[in-house]
Amino acid sequence: MKTYHFENSQRMFKKAARVIPCGIYGHLSPVPLIPPTAYPFYAVRAKGSRFWDVDGNEFIDYVCAYGPVILGYNHEKVDAAAMKQYGEANCVTAPTPVMVELAEYLVDLIPIADWAFFAKNGGDVTSYALMAAREATGRKKIVMVCGGYHGVAPWAQAPGHPGVMDDDHRNCIRVRWNDYTEFERVVEENPGEIAGFIATPYHHPTFADSELPAEGYWQKIEALCRKEGIVLIVDDVRCGFRLDMRGSNEYFGFKPDLICFCKAIGNGYPISALVGTDSLKNVVSRVFYTGSYWFSAVPMAAAIATLKELKSIDGPKLIRETGRKLLDGLVDIARGYGYDLKVTGHPSMPYLRITNDESLMLHQDWCGECTKRGAYFSSHHNWFISTAHTDEDIQRSWAIAEDAFKAVKKRYG
């Protein structure tokens, strides 16, 4: 099977590095793509489940822009709604009616939601949720899960990272995922001081297996939060509308006070949302929070179109089934070459790891070999399945995976 080359990507990166810090910064940085020489750095076109890079290579994309793209790139209905709105009004002195329409849609769709607030990125609304919890309780401490990702605000980054001060973490307490006893102990040790508990619906760290909630975990967390007056916040930025249209908490059977959404809500159009219960509506009204583009109408129109389409085709079910089929096949192919390909997390956003080598080097090489053949597989981050992934994509991905296993088998034996 032919393998790709990335001369134009490398050339463009050298230009970028002269004028942009890191060349490519943040979560799109090539650093965790190992080896970077096996991955494209710059895209020029995208459609459906695929994108094309600056070298003309075509990829079946299983990263989907790290989550936002759930219906596939350049989805016609979403783009049409966005373009229609663009022709009318976007960033204006006053908000547009589409904002009210989207808020009403979310309140109808999500059982715990009595109101909705909009911003741009996931981190905007996780930080706002913390402020709301503190305002609601008059308390300062926030409990979060060790290794959980809630954006890049100083409180959300791990201590010791550049630009993060010790003081940024003074009121943050980290507990282990799925360890209810530890959370209970922290609450006991900080009586009347815990404002909120924030966590993702299930644990999906990078470079490590995903972990679903243990039986009864969320229900016990919810009960203790209710008893102690702690605001329960779900960071549904990554999982939202992938597991359940009503919020991932419904999938796992519990009721938070606040839910943070982003990524899939707009199928690539920049928008995030915080939704919450009626008891917190006046509280968030008191916390001043805004941004220049947070009222832009185009992403709101795109979000309505995305959510309606996802609901009409039962998107979560579709990507769950597509993911399951793809993964079952990959696991079988791996087994044929003597490799144990472990899949964790939900089938619509699985984390994969070849367990034969705990250093991950074998797995990194396999993902790199697949990407060089046209199936964009990340080795460090969970994948994302979209409704645009077809049976043909799956068949092609299996063939690529097989050829890549042959290549790494030669190298590792």
Partner: protein, 253 residues
């Protein structure tokens, strides 16, 4: 733990250790120490201890106590040791008074060579041999500093506590030098050379790329994406190690 105490650990266990390489790779220093048979014990009150041994043209720097050293130097505090290393103070000799001349004259010439290689200028770095030795020393200092920062510095301890068991190899291609830092159950053990089955590796393309990367002239993100630095394996181990190294300038300028 005070900053002075952590700095004393770094000076004794990461900086002074470079004497081994100066003796091995700098011809001028090698000729100076060729016939030496002397051992110097450094003891800091309420602080670390280390020794330097010169024998058979080889220098060995070690942690802890040396049996019957030729010279014993006492420092009344970690700050006292740090002042001496910075050239602003003198130790208190408590053994080896007949060797005071050696200390002031010969040993000082060796430490001056160390300082010469540890404090580069743009002009000096144009010399390939100088660049290679300076980069070797920087790599070794970094590896041995990881232990001290990771076990003593509050932020370093926190970062190290998240690193799982296993070894990390850092190597300058094509032929080295290389270092290995082994993490095991909360302990950190650096050494020269490479582990056979590392959990993570960082390869630097050549001496120039290694120098630019280790000295902070190029940022890590750009160096890795452009291929000047190659990483594989458990990247969170390398990330934590890198953050630990970021703490060094807090103690050593």
């Amino acid at each position: 733990m005070s900053d002075e105490l952590i700095k004393a650990h770094l000076n004794l266990y990461a900086v002074l250790r470079n004497l081994e390489d100066i003796v091995e790779y700098d011809r001028e220093t090698a000729s100076l120490v060729m016939d030496w048979d002397v051992s110097v014990q450094f003891s800091v009150l309420n602080g670390p201890r280390a020794y330097i041994e010169f024998r058979g043209g080889v220098c060995t720097v070690g942690r802890g106590k040396y049996d019957n050293p030729s010279v014993r130097l006492l420092f009344l505090s970690p700050a006292h040791l740090n002042r001496m290393i910075d050239g602003r103070g003198n130790p208190i000799p408590i053994k080896g008074f007949t060797r005071l001349g050696f200390l002031k004259r010969d040993f000082t010439r060796v430490t001056e060579r160390l300082e010469y290689y540890l404090k580069p200028t743009a002009e000096l770095l144009k010399d390939e041999e100088y660049l290679a030795l300076n980069t070797r020393l920087t790599l070794h200092t970094a590896a041995f500093a990881v232990r001290e920062i990771g076990l003593l510095d509050p932020v370093g301890r926190l970062l190290a506590s998240h690193i799982g068991n296993g070894s990390v190899n850092l190597k300058i291609l094509p032929h080295g030098p290389g270092v290995c830092v082994n993490f095991k159950d909360g302990d950190i053990e650096p050494r020269k050379g490479e582990a056979d089955r590392p959990m993570a590796v960082m390869w630097m393309k050549n001496v120039k790329a290694a120098h630019d990367f280790l000295s902070g002239k190029t940022d890590a993100f750009t160096a890795i994406a452009s291929g000047d630095v190659m990483i594989r394996g458990q990247i969170p181990m390398l990330e934590s190690l890198s953050l630990i190294l970021d703490r060094i300038p807090h103690y050593l300028s």
